[in-house]
Symmetry: C2
Subunit: 342 residues, 2 copies
């Protein structure tokens, strides 16, 4: 049965457990013959070492963890692959763990650190405010990768961050729209009452308006639909459809995510309006669909690959004492599509 342990293997081979252990862990000092015999019976018996027992005795482990908040965030999946790849290249194994929306990521992390003897952690997405003390107690270096810009409210020497300055990028996009002649620009998606990426991008939008002498009009904030899942095309479609019914005049809409933009685009089309002639559409994130949509959607591309690479590099540098904690902000790339220019 599945109850076979290292002792059993040792007995069957007429050797001690340490010899088996050494063989399994690739230690050099072991007779080739006995090694062969051991490996053979291990194979035959389908023996698999128990990792829990392994981790218990150890202090190191050469493994890091990726903690993902909101496993369904499709933006993260590519980043995970890159990080996994880089980690393995450095001889590290990686533990992927999804954190529930209402779980405390630090608690989860601490548990994992103890259990797996982690050497470091990369947090993907959502990160609440924690005290420095609590963060330091994690005991291992970690990097926070967030599409939300990290402000001063986070202590900056306890861990590293890799991010995009959402406010600046939102401003960039809005400035671009203004430059191409738009004055009545709606913004689709932000919830003024939360303080996530949405409100940061909204802040950038406001800044752009102000610096261009355009009055901010909160009628032009189109919140996400409450009855639909957030940040989905479906939501963008519903929210935009409702807004269009109100008859408020706009010449462009800046959606705070590409998925919302895509849904909104269809809503505009279904309302009998043309993109960009009647309403220009812009998104945020840079997902592939923007490029292939007709018309292609103007967006801000987040350099996910580079961000993933950097987060791994920083983490391993800190682990290896080759570097200090740092805070890297990646620029987004404005990709102009057919949805804003004729």
């Amino acid at each position: 049965m599945a109850k076979i342990t290292i002792k059993d293997i040792a007995k069957m081979c007429g050797v001690g457990v340490s010899t088996v252990s050494r063989t399994l862990n690739g230690h050099p000092d072991v007779n080739p013959e006995t090694r062969a015999k051991i490996l053979e019976t291990v194979e035959k018996m389908n023996y698999v070492p128990n990792n829990s027992a392994r981790n218990l005795g150890r202090n190191d482990s050469a493994s890091i963890a990726i903690l993902v908040k909101g496993a369904s965030n499709t933006l993260f999946s590519s980043m995970i692959s890159t990080i996994e790849y880089d980690a393995k290249e450095r001889g590290y194994s990686v533990v992927l763990h999804s954190v529930g929306f209402y779980e405390d990521e630090i608690d989860v992390a601490r548990e994992l650190v103890k259990e797996k003897r982690l050497r470091g952690i990369i947090f993907l997405g959502g990160f609440s405010l924690h005290s420095d003390e609590k963060l330091k107690e994690l005991g291992v270096p970690f990097v926070l990768v967030t599409t939300g810009y990290v402000t001063e409210r986070f202590s900056r020497n306890v861990y590293s961050t890799v991010s995009v300055d959402d406010a600046a990028e939102g401003e960039k996009m809005t400035n671009y729209l203004i430059k191409t002649g738009h004055r009545k620009i709606a913004i689709l998606g932000p919830d003024p009452h939360d303080n996530s990426v949405g409100s940061l991008r909204l802040a950038g939008y406001k800044r752009a308006l102000t610096s261009n002498g355009i009055d901010f009009n909160d009628k032009l904030i189109i919140p996400m639909d409450h009855d639909t899942a957030d940040y989905t095309m479906e939501n963008g479609y519903a929210a935009m459809s409702n807004f269009l019914k109100e008859g408020i005049k706009i010449s462009a809409v800046f959606a705070i995510s590409d998925t919302l933009a895509l849904g909104a685009a269809r809503a505009i089309y279904d309302a009998g309006l043309r993109i960009p002639e009647d309403i220009a559409v812009a998104g945020f994130d840079g997902i592939p669909a923007c490029k292939y949509y007709v018309p292609s959607i103007t967006t801000i591309r987040q350099p996910l690959y580079d961000m993933a690479k950097e987060s791994a590099r920083i983490l391993f540098d800190v682990i290896d004492k080759k570097g200090e904690h740092m805070h890297e902000v990646f620029p987004g790339e404005l990709i102009i599509g057919e949805s804003t220019e004729v």
Copy 2:
């Protein structure tokens, strides 16, 4: 430091380790006062039990694992969420583990079973051929969720499967296209040399042609582009663009995934052709983008939510001895969009 153990807590409270353990695990027989004191110091000390040690001592665990092959497969992310939800509702915790493309999923699974004392496993995606013996040795029930149809080559009483009959669905789509008047139908994506979902959908395509008296023409098989990642819009665009340059006359293209279809649609558009008037486009999977694309893309929707629900239900039924292993095949839903009908 992070070195604090259950013993320390016991000492600090002037009690034995067992009392602490009982408190932490919610056992009833423990004095409310001491319990309070223990919980308090646990809180104050930021004590976190070591899961490895926990798992070692235990024999049960009330946890299952989801093993995902190809973490980046976006179709799976929604399924993961629903399974996690259902599991938690039944008081189970779930371990998410990604399996590398060249790893042996059964080996990974066995390791995990031992380490975590798993009660069951749900495999998402890719599953190679394994001997019954090896499968049985897993020691816990498992469900294989695959978008590929499970054929007889899998033993049917050792585990459960939840799937979509890709060949039948591919045939369904092709039949639909034929019924709407198409005779020269290209199929985009299948690699005749592998035996994954692609070839199954291709088989269905061929069956439909045959039963409708249309000669199969392998010139109409458009393979994915070799220099581009599989099953991406980019790939669909590249492959379709190249095909169009050859000047082979077709009236419809059936892409074996929606992502490929979306890329192909843009390629057709860029070639100055109209959808569906010049070339009709159909996809497979039922991703949201199909609905919001202009024109909306005809596709086969896989009932991912239902499949996830069922896989959890089946697994827990087998775990609870309330049911036997079973093999459920879900029908795909033909969703007719604007890309195939004027």
